[in-house]
């Protein structure tokens, strides 16, 4: 392989065939396609589901394949808020502040049954599901959820993003 001269085509002989010269698409679809593969998650990790979050981020399951692997540790740089674990009543104002700091477009994932509905907690201390205080786009139940479920959740969220309306698309673009 090494030492073998690579074929160099002279520029004059290269002719355009017409294939893949242009594609047609909807502007909405283009923005959705771009956004669904560049999810920057902000992990709001409060409890034991974090172990599963680490497993799903690590090489065996690898959320990088979906473009959702690089966690941003500032909500201002993130567009996917992952609530991983139980949220207590005392924590709720912090979660709300984090959510409000995120710029549009933003999506919220309830990771695990505690974030989804409070799970087996029903008492003075814990919030019965984060959707009581912020809107949620995708729920992943399980205690903790299997990595396959998380990946399925990410793929469904990508589907939602791809089919959704994107406000960046207006009459100027």
């Amino acid at each position: 392989m090494y030492g073998k001269p690579l074929p160099v085509l002279p520029a004059t002989k290269h002719e355009k065939t017409g294939a893949f010269e242009f594609i047609t698409t909807r502007k909405d679809e283009l923005a959705g396609w771009a956004r669904k593969f560049s999810l920057f998650p902000y992990p709001f990790v409060t409890a034991c589901c974090a172990m599963e979050f680490m497993a799903v981020s690590a090489s065996a399951y690898d959320t990088d394949r979906f473009g959702a692997a690089l966690p941003r540790f500032s909500p201002r740089q993130a567009d996917l808020l992952m609530i991983v674990g139980t949220v207590t009543q005392k924590q709720a104002p912090i979660l709300l502040k984090v959510y409000e700091q995120m710029c549009e477009p933003k999506w919220v994932m309830a990771f695990g049954v505690c974030a989804t509905s409070g799970g087996f907690y029903q008492n003075y201390a814990s919030l019965p599901g984060i959707d009581k205080i912020i809107p949620v786009d995708i729920y992943i139940p399980g205690c903790p959820p299997r990595p396959e479920m998380v990946i399925d959740g990410i793929m469904r969220l990508q589907e939602t993003i791809a089919n959704g309306k994107h406000l960046i698309v207006n009459d100027k673009f």
């Binding site: 009543q89 709720a92 959707d131 205080i133």
Partner: protein, 157 residues
Amino acid sequence: MTALSIVSKLQQSLGAFGQTSLAHQLIVCELEVPQFLAAVETLKNTFAFDVFLDVTAVDWPNDALRFEVVHHFYSSTNKIRVRLKCRVPEAAPVVPTLRPLYGSAGYMERECHDMYGILFDGNDDLRAILLYEGFVGHPLRKDYPKQLEQPLVPYRF
């Protein structure tokens, strides 16, 4: 002193303050509130109980003396543990603070006050430690409604 003689001496001297018994090889002493501070001072000064393990309470809703305040101590030189129990009524759930004797007692007394509403006489810093400001009631009391939530952020629905 062998370990056995320390235990018997300890049991003997705690007997002066209240009724002693053994539970799971742990010396338990049930005493009245007025004797409490003297008993702890004896534990600390005579028997080298240098570690304050925890303070909690038990709620007996049908009893006249409703709350049982439970203290645990550990001696790192003699390697023994002691449990002190004293009963207090609901109207005046007061036991003396142990902050002057054990620095770590302050935090655990705050937690006990959060959960059961026990007042620690002499501890003027019983702010909420696990609960939040504005929380009404004491959630580990038996008469706290099990599903009563006191949200800090208003619910969306």
